[in-house]
Amino acid sequence: MSAAIQIPKSTAASHAFAAAQSADELVAATRAIVEHELAPQTARIDTEGLYPKAVMHSLGAAGAFRAHLPDARADGCHDFGAAIRAMAAVSQECLSTGFATWCQDTCAWYLQVGEAQARERWLEPLASGRVLGGTGMSNTMKAFSGIEDLRLSGERVDGGYLVNGSLPWVSNLGADHVFGSLFTLSGDTNRTVMALVDCSAPGFTLRQSAHFVALEGTRTFACLFDNVFIPDANVIDHDGAAFLQRARAGLVLLQFGMGAGNIQGCIDVCRSVEPLLGHVNQFLDDRPDELQQELDDIVDAVLTLAETPYETSKDFFREILQLRLAAGELALRASQSAMLHTGAKGYLSSAPAQRKLRESYFVAIVTPATKHLRKELARMEAEGASA
């Protein structure tokens, strides 16, 4: 059995562009797409759940999903900082599209740190944005923190695995999309396998259910597996636990693109009313300059840690989680501040402030959520204290 998805051909132009691109050029190219293609649709993405498919393809063509992937770059280097900054530029305008960007970046990252066969086949289509993809790893991350059980199990069969189970709420999906996820091997719950799931595979169902208060334009579905065959060619790593060790730092580091973008968007909203309302807003807490300094501190730290995404030490990951917690908490304060700074203008149903308020909760509750982070950090602190 082969995957039904046809991989679009690469265009030489996008390749040549990516090869010579600096981080600043990538951010500038991303900003141009945000301004001309994304911004006119932001309100519809939020209120109507429009999926920004064309924008995603444009971002891919501009190199926004490629910067952190050595095997998808001409120079063989990784620049997580550039990927995070590009995602932040998107999220500053629209967190739905920022989240879709994270899904895409992270799915491609799985292939980058996985085994060669799947990487050779899928990395370039994902890095270029010609194939769009997601990540069904929320359950995995929670399972490895002892918060819930793994929901997918697979059985070894000739040439691959038959997978059963279900995942709620996987994003950036569609009939012609793929996503990375991890399943336990039936009969051996200590062993897990990381694989790329093809949404067009027989037995696989996408199901849309309830609606969310924000992030609606992210094509978020429940995924039902009924004897879904995953060929060996799509196995990202036969050792899921070791894979997660390697992938987790990059996965969480990339999320700062969403947090930093949302927070910066909130600060921008606060500043935009300064000429009119500064005389009274000066009595508020969490003024834009204070928020900006805290954001700059987080971004400075993240961009430094992002230089070593392959580092697997506990102390390094603890720092990433501390910063991730800080980003979620700062997003909530920044969006609250955006509301208070703009007042009634921000309370209009068309106002960016109220959209950013709803979006900011996503930063704080997407896995790893604030409570998950606090639990994990408490465990690490206790370990450190007794070590």
Partner: protein
């Protein structure tokens, strides 16, 4: 007739509760529909998962018996923000002897200056040299701790931020970046310490090679020794390697020492004294692998197999590396501070950036790193003096080193000269059953004391240097 009570079911993924008594009107299930009677293609109205994803709703809430204290709780200001230090603060990075010594020296001169000490480790105050002698003295790692960071900080009236690594120094903003938040400073002291040189060793157990350079790694070593008699392979016959070897032998372990040199302490001692130390170690059963390096270490049965560069192999339980110290300089170099072997500092311990000082293992003064306790204390005093506007610069002197090997106690002054000196350059003041006293006849003062004469080291040192 008794009715079976209705049950409640919870969706594992999203927390939706299906109450049999109420049914699911939107899903077409009238009140009273039992789980068994729900159609197999029922969908959770919240997340879209299936009937088989429901499980019986537990009666008790899912809380831990005693919820742990929230982490990070000390690290928030009134806004819930993460800001430390101020434009008045002295910020010290590092909680080794260098960091704490600066805090003490500055506090003695200025009881009111706000001081924040920030460290990646737990910050406990302990005498690092005691790591080399704890086994023979029967001291557990916890016994070595004189005070916790919190205790010492309270005594000194300073703040301490532990388990917080400085990720970046931003001199333009006078700010340190950490995962707990930003730290503003007026003046900065870098006491970053040194790390053990990592040897290039192959094999599937290469990651198991221990490098003991602080309390945390020493604890790890003691845990692995585990009360058993073990065979330990020490990489490096320098000061730390020899001291640890003697201590491990005293505790009943067997020791092999691998070193590329032909004698122990080759950079510190004259050849004949080094040979005497070697003979004393021989008597304790130490196996020497001199002129050798470890090529690889692999897992073998329940132990390890070490392979030397010449191809010879032997079984061992633990490989411990003590191959010398490398100053930690990266955060300084990235901030644009001049760095040579260490962070370059003048006699006032000022670095190339205004109001940034460096001392101890990470610092280089006039081309040399001063990594022993005595000069570090004097460096700390020099920093405190400079901050107070006094002119009492650090005097670089050849160090006095006490080699804490009970098999042959040694004090050596100016080891660089001593190691290279010709036998005819020495004046033998005493040489008897209690030990030896050798004084160098050259222009640079140097001496070696062994056995019971080793105790005279400080006195003799003072007579040379005041």
């Amino acid at each position: 007739m008794t009715e079976t009570p209705y049950h409640k079911w919870i969706c594992d993924a999203c927390g939706y509760i299906y109450d049999e008594a109420k049914g699911d009107a939107d899903g077409g299930l009238p009140p009273g529909t039992r789980y068994e009677d729900m159609p197999e293609d029922w969908q959770c109205p919240l997340c879209g998962l299936r009937k088989l994803d429901l499980r019986p709703l537990p009666d008790a809430p899912a809380v831990a018996a005693s919820p742990p204290a929230a982490p990070e709780s000390t690290a928030v200001d009134r806004h819930g923000g993460r800001r430390f230090g101020s434009a008045e603060h002295l910020v010290i990075v590092g909680a080794g002897i260098a960091g704490w010594s600066v805090a003490e020296a500055v506090r003695r001169r200025d009881p009111n200056l706000p001081i924040l000490l920030v460290t990646a480790c737990e910050g406990a105050v302990y005498a690092k040299p005691s790591l080399s002698t704890a086994l023979a003295h029967g001291r557990a790692p916890a016994d070595l701790v004189e005070a916790s960071a919190e205790q010492r900080a309270a005594e000194l009236g300073i703040e301490a931020l532990t388990r917080t690594r400085v990720i970046k120094i931003d001199p333009a903003k006078r700010r340190l970046i950490t995962a707990r938040g930003g730290i503003t400073y007026a003046r900065l002291v870098l006491a970053l310490g040194a790390r053990q040189r990592q040897l290039d060793v192959a094999g599937d157990a290469a990651a198991a090679v221990l490098r003991v350079n602080d309390l945390r790694s020493y604890r790890d070593l003691r845990q692995r020794l585990d009360g058993d008699r073990r065979h330990i392979t020490l990489l490096g016959a320098g000061l730390i390697g020899c001291e640890l070897a003697d201590d491990l032998c005293a505790a009943g372990h067997r020791v092999s020492i691998v070193d590329p040199n032909q004698r122990p302490l080759a950079a510190l001692l004259p050849a004949d004294i080094a040979e005497l130390l070697r003979a004393r170690f021989d008597a304790k059963g130490v196996e020497w692998r001199l002129g050798q390096t470890l090529a690889r270490v692999d897992h073998a049965d329940s132990a390890l197999r070490a392979t030397l560069a010449d191809g010879s192999t032997f079984a061992t339980d633990l490989v411990l590396s003590a191959a010398g110290l490398l100053p930690i300089t990266e955060p300084a170099a990235r901030a644009g501070i001049a760095v040579g072997h260490g962070i370059i500092a003048d006699r006032r311990l000022r670095t190339s950036l205004p109001d940034v000082y460096a001392l101890g293992d990470c610092a280089e003064v006039e081309g040399r790193c001063f990594s022993y306790i005595e000069p570090i204390r004097r460096q700390a005093e020099a920093i405190a003096a400079d901050m107070a506007g006094e002119h009492v610069p650090f005097q670089p002197r050849p160090p006095l080193v006490r080699v804490k090997t009970p098999s042959l106690p040694i004090s050596v002054c100016n080891g660089r000269v001593a190691a290279d000196a010709d036998p005819t350059d020495w004046r033998c003041v005493s040489d008897d059953a209690d030990g030896a006293r050798l004084e160098h006849t050259g222009t640079e003062p140097a001496f070696v004391l062994t056995g019971s004469y080793a105790r005279l080291g400080t006195e003799l040192y003072r007579s040379h240097f005041g």
